[in-house]
């Protein structure tokens, strides 16, 4: 990238810059006309000077003055329209309006053009910077902070966009204005002109010196702010460490220190800026001071002695009018000069910013962009031998983590690499996956040198799974597909207006030098996964999940996931079939005791009072169990059915019991969270309330206490809480309330609730609840496990398990996959690598977080699934090497033993020792 911002701007936008410049010059012509027009309007239009000699004068007459030796000295292009005074004035006024409009339009167009050019350049710059991140060697990411990269691309280059539009136009325009004014002054009196020039020169000399420190400070401001962004990201990343080590105050001190530095820098910047401004203003006022003094002196001399002779007298002859003229001209001068100075300051500022940023984007060992070129053809398969010859890798400190490794292994022969920690086995795995740059030697597969293979081939044909799996914050499915997206395969279809917009979008991308590939195209390479259509791919995906034993987890996620009924009507229909099947099995009394189905005409004892009354799933927080009690409609229904008192009475009973049970417990005791209706903070309030009541009944409760008490029974579930509050007659009354609530439900509330309906899928509930269509009974031993088994059985019988799994695949894994467990992340990473059926699969101790038995099963599964293709597995447990064709034992960055597991085991050497030590 160009070190000079100006060269960069000129190289990428010269055509636009020139076009804008031409427009600016053109605008000046109109501007000049619009300035001279008012004079004509006043003199001729209103005062009617020209009409003193003629009744009608030509309007819009176009004449070109010709040298006198040609005809009569004038060439008339347009004779004009002859008008009397009043129409002439109207015409002139309209012309004035037209000029003003044209000027405005010019201004608008120029500004839009400048803005567009600036934005385009900003886009180009950002894209180029991002592009370079993709070309960073992976080792560089250990040294840079992501947040700093983000701030640079996002914030630090932002001011450049505003400047780029003015980069060339502004100095030309302002310089032109200043030169004109200067010329005028010179023409009035060259001595005064010289003085003005001298003062400008002083300004031009002093101000940059004043600004030197300002620029240094500006640089500091940028760096300190960037470091702060990095520090904030560190706080977020290291939040666990901060809490476990109790270092929050240390962090506070650090950030306070940084903010203090930033403050100091910024404040000094202000001081300097305003000092410079002050001096600048002072200097610009010195000039009129001198003009008054010197010009005045000349004028006085001229009046006192009009016939004076001598050099000074002849050169300096000036009248009062000339002095005023010079002053006026000078008045026009400071503004362009000042703006020019401002522009120059801005120029230096953005130049520094630009250098600051691009310096961070040129690390050593950048990847050759050609390796990332888009390939039109599918990647060829890699075959033959994996050959390493003298592979050496050095870390930052110059230590050799790999020291001259040589090895030849046919791809189809599975290879295990074992060794103690620090033996270099992980580095070897990474080097084979081309994640570590080698400082010597070479790696080849067949006759292809690994270092020269484009990423379109390595990305498709190699897979590396390390201990740290990064998952994108997308669905499980999208994360699985991630390994299949080397190039767009089927263009997205755009129609009509969309197609036009898309074309425009692409053209604009092209102008800014951005990629024109369409992220909405279908990038998923079916063939790579061994599928011919998406349904097959989905099947392959589920197969891989089973292989790494993740399918059950995804199924469970699916049960807790939701279906969008509008978008997936078939799936919803299928779940309804599962519901029917499950309910038909509830004829079996052993199962019937486990689930209490929803029935509009029966009170469900396993649901809370609130759920019983709603008999549906709230889709809005306003009808949540916590807020329902405060809902006016709900209150009205209870009051109408005479239940208000009953609720207060029940609340009173609950409050009494809670105060009795929990009064002795210290505040914050875990029992409060788990069992109490009343939080430990609220308990004293209820105790006081009960004391005030002193055993009196519901009638004595005050209005505000009634509200508090009436909210308590909403959470009540009889078999769980067992206070004996809901007897059969209460059940009847609550059923009545349920029906009344639903019957006259206002439309705006109806939208916020989805009622339970045996024949309809409930989009607000998850799949499991939809299949159950009821509540698990309290107090049934092992109910959850048994119901889970029952649901699985039903789904299997109807062949619907995959419907649920596919909903599970939509589960968003969260930032860096944090919504999955470490084990699930590892398995997903492995499944993603397996899905593309790589010619060489490198697994770098990637199963370490799993227990021994799972590791073993996974190893067997992967080896058998990948049989015939290359596997290099860096093992955490040396004993597992016995399942491989060949074993490499590493020590101190060197291969110390090599052979089949049998040979090595019998040799009683390093391998045997490693196995023995676990």
């Amino acid at each position: 990238m160009d070190r000079s911002l100006f060269r960069y701007i000129w190289r990428n936008s010269k055509r636009e810059q020139i076009a804008i410049l031409i427009m600016v010059v053109l605008a000046q012509v109109f501007y000049f006309f619009s300035l001279s027009l008012p004079k004509t309007i006043v003199n001729d239009g209103i005062e009617g000077k020209v009409f003193k000699s003629a009744r009608e004068v030509p309007f819009l007459r176009l004449e070109i003055a010709l040298p006198s030796w040609l005809s009569d000295g004038k060439l008339t292009l347009f004779d004009g329209i002859y008008l009397t005074q009043w129409p002439y004035l109207v015409a002139l006024s309209c012309l004035f309006l037209a000029f003003v409009t044209i000027n405005g339009l010019f201004k608008k167009t120029i500004n839009t053009q400048k803005g567009r050019m600036g934005e385009r350049m900003l886009r180009r710059l950002r894209y180029e910077l991002y592009d370079r991140i993709l070309l960073f060697p992976t080792s560089h990411f250990r040294k840079v902070k992501q947040a700093e990269l983000a701030t640079m691309i996002k914030d630090e280059v932002e001011p450049l966009g505003g400047f780029i539009g003015d980069a060339f136009v502004q100095p030309m325009f302002l310089g032109g204005q200043a030169a004109t004014a200067l010329l005028f002054i010179m023409m009035q009196n060259w001595l005064l002109g010289l003085i003005v020039i001298a003062i400008l020169a002083v300004q031009a000399f002093i101000i940059p010196r004043l600004r030197k420190r300002v620029l240094v400070l500006g640089k500091q401001r940028q760096i300190t702010a960037r470091a702060l962004a990095g520090r904030i990201a560190e706080t977020a990343d290291g939040s666990q460490e901060i809490h476990t080590h109790g270092t929050a105050n240390y962090e506070r001190a650090d950030v306070s220190d940084r903010l203090g530095t930033i403050f100091t820098v910024r404040f000094e910047l202000y001081q300097r800026k305003f000092t410079a401004k002050f001096l600048n203003n002072l200097l610009s006022q010195v000039t009129p001071f001198l003009i008054y003094l010197i010009g005045g002196w000349f004028a006085i001399r001229g009046q006192v002695d009009p016939n004076a002779t001598g050099w000074l007298a002849t050169q300096g002859k000036m009248d009062v009018g000339a002095v005023v003229g010079v002053l006026l001209a000078y008045k026009d001068l400071p503004s362009p000069i000042k703006e020019l100075i401002d522009w120059d300051q801005q120029r230096q500022d953005v130049q520094i910013k630009y250098e600051q940023v691009i310096d961070q984007f040129q690390p050593e060992g950048m990847i050759d962009p050609n390796l990332q070129a888009l390939s039109a053809d599918p990647a060829p398969t890699l075959s033959g031998d994996l050959v390493l010859s003298g592979v050496t890798v050095e870390d930052d400190s110059g230590t050799r983590t790999l020291d001259g490794i040589s090895l030849t292994n046919p791809l189809q022969r599975s290879l295990a690499i074992v060794g103690a920690a620090g033996s270099g086995k992980e580095a070897l795995g990474q080097a084979i996956a081309r994640l570590l740059p080698t400082s010597g030697g070479s790696i080849a597969i067949g006759d292809r040198k690994l270092a020269e293979l484009p990423e379109s081939i390595t990305g498709a044909r190699l897979s590396h799974v390390g201990q740290d799996i990064y998952l994108f914050p997308l669905s499980v499915r999208e994360n699985m597909y991630y390994g299949l997206k080397q190039r767009p395969l089927r263009a997205a279809e755009y129609q009509g207006e969309q197609a036009r917009l898309r074309d425009h979008f692409v053209a604009e991308s092209q102008r800014a030098g951005n990629s024109i590939l369409d992220p909405n195209a279908d990038w998923v390479d079916l063939q790579l996964a061994g599928a011919t259509n998406h349904a097959q791919l989905e099947a392959r995906l589920i197969e891989m999940l089973k292989l790494v034993e993740l399918e059950e987890d995804i199924y469970q996620l699916g049960l807790r996931g939701r279906i969008d009924v509008e978008r997936q009507p078939e799936e919803a229909e299928a779940i309804l079939r599962a519901r029917a099947e499950l309910h038909s099995r509830l004829q079996d009394p052993a199962l019937a005791s486990l689930i209490e189905p929803f029935d509009r005409n029966r009170y469900s004892v396993n649901m809370s009072v609130a759920e019983n009354l709603l008999f549906g799933t709230p889709t809005d927080r306003g009808l949540d169990i916590a807020n329902l009690g405060a809902n006016p409609y709900f209150q009205a229904v209870l009051a109408r059915l005479g239940l208000a008192d009953a609720f207060v009475a029940m609340g009173l009973r609950i409050a009494e019991t809670m105060v009795e049970l929990f009064a002795d417990l210290p505040a914050g005791h875990p029992f409060f969270d788990q069992y109490s209706f009343i939080s430990s903070e609220d308990l004293p309030q209820f105790r006081l309330m009960l004391q005030r009541l002193g055993g009196k009944g519901v009638e004595a409760v005050s209005a505000s206490d009634r509200r508090l008490l009436a909210a308590l029974p909403l959470h009540y579930i009889e078999p769980r809480h067992r206070l004996g509050l809901i007897d059969e007659s209460m059940q009847h009354r609550l059923l009545e309330a349920r029906n009344a609530f639903a019957k006259e439900l206002p439309a705006e509330l109806a939208r916020k609730i989805e009622f339970y309906d045996r024949d309809h899928y409930n989009g607000a509930s998850n799949i499991q609840d939809n299949i159950l269509f009821g509540r698990m009974a309290f107090g049934q031993a092992g109910a959850e496990r048994r119901v889970g088994a029952l649901i699985a059985e039903v789904l299997d019988k109807l062949d619907l398990r995959n419907v649920v799994v596919e909903v599970g695949l939509d589960y968003n894994v969260g930032v860096a996959g944090k919504r999955l467990t470490a084990g699930q992340r590892q398995k997903l990473g492995l499944a993603r690598a397996l899905l593309k059926r790589p010619d060489l699969l490198i697994i770098n101790d990637a199963t370490a977080v799993l227990d021994g038995a799972s590791q073993q099963r996974l190893l067997d599964n992967v080896l058998s699934a990948n049989a015939g293709r290359g596997v290099v597995w860096v093992l955490g447990r040396p004993a597992q090497a016995q399942h491989f064709d060949r074993v490499l034992v590493m020590q101190g960055g060197k291969v110390v033993e090599e052979g089949t597991p049998k040979e090595l085991a019998s040799r009683n050497g390093h391998y045997a020792e490693l196995v023995a030590s676990g």
């Binding site: 005791s593 019991t657 809480h721 067992r722």
Partner: protein, 150 residues
Amino acid sequence: MNLNEEVELLKAVPLFAKVEPAKLKLLAFTSERLTFNAGQEVCHQGEAGDAMYVILGGRADVLIDKQGGGQIKVAELTRHGFFGDIAILCDVPRTATILATEHLLTLKITKDMFYRMVQEFPTMAVEMLRELGHRLEDTNKQLRAAKSAA
């Protein structure tokens, strides 16, 4: 059965005989009531245990694995009986299998809960100790009887 009835029931359990009713009520409130059908196992010998059970109704057999397979019934538990206390006190696997022989209603007191209660109300620990002492004495008696018989 509501909470007060449960408390009455718990009072009749020897282990809780001397614990204040108020504390028993909290115990009952914070513990799950579990029903088992006839033929359902409550716990299995050798498995890890994390709860003790108090029988509120019904009947269960205490079975111990015989060497070489099969089980032998060593005792029968009925209303007010309790089991599973050894596993949560001593952190050992279940010492016996409990099989419901008829509809069995139990109060399940988790290990967590049990320790919290004991910490909250130390008098309960003393009661517990006394009860376990009695049981040890019973076992010793049986052992003596068995020895003299042999």
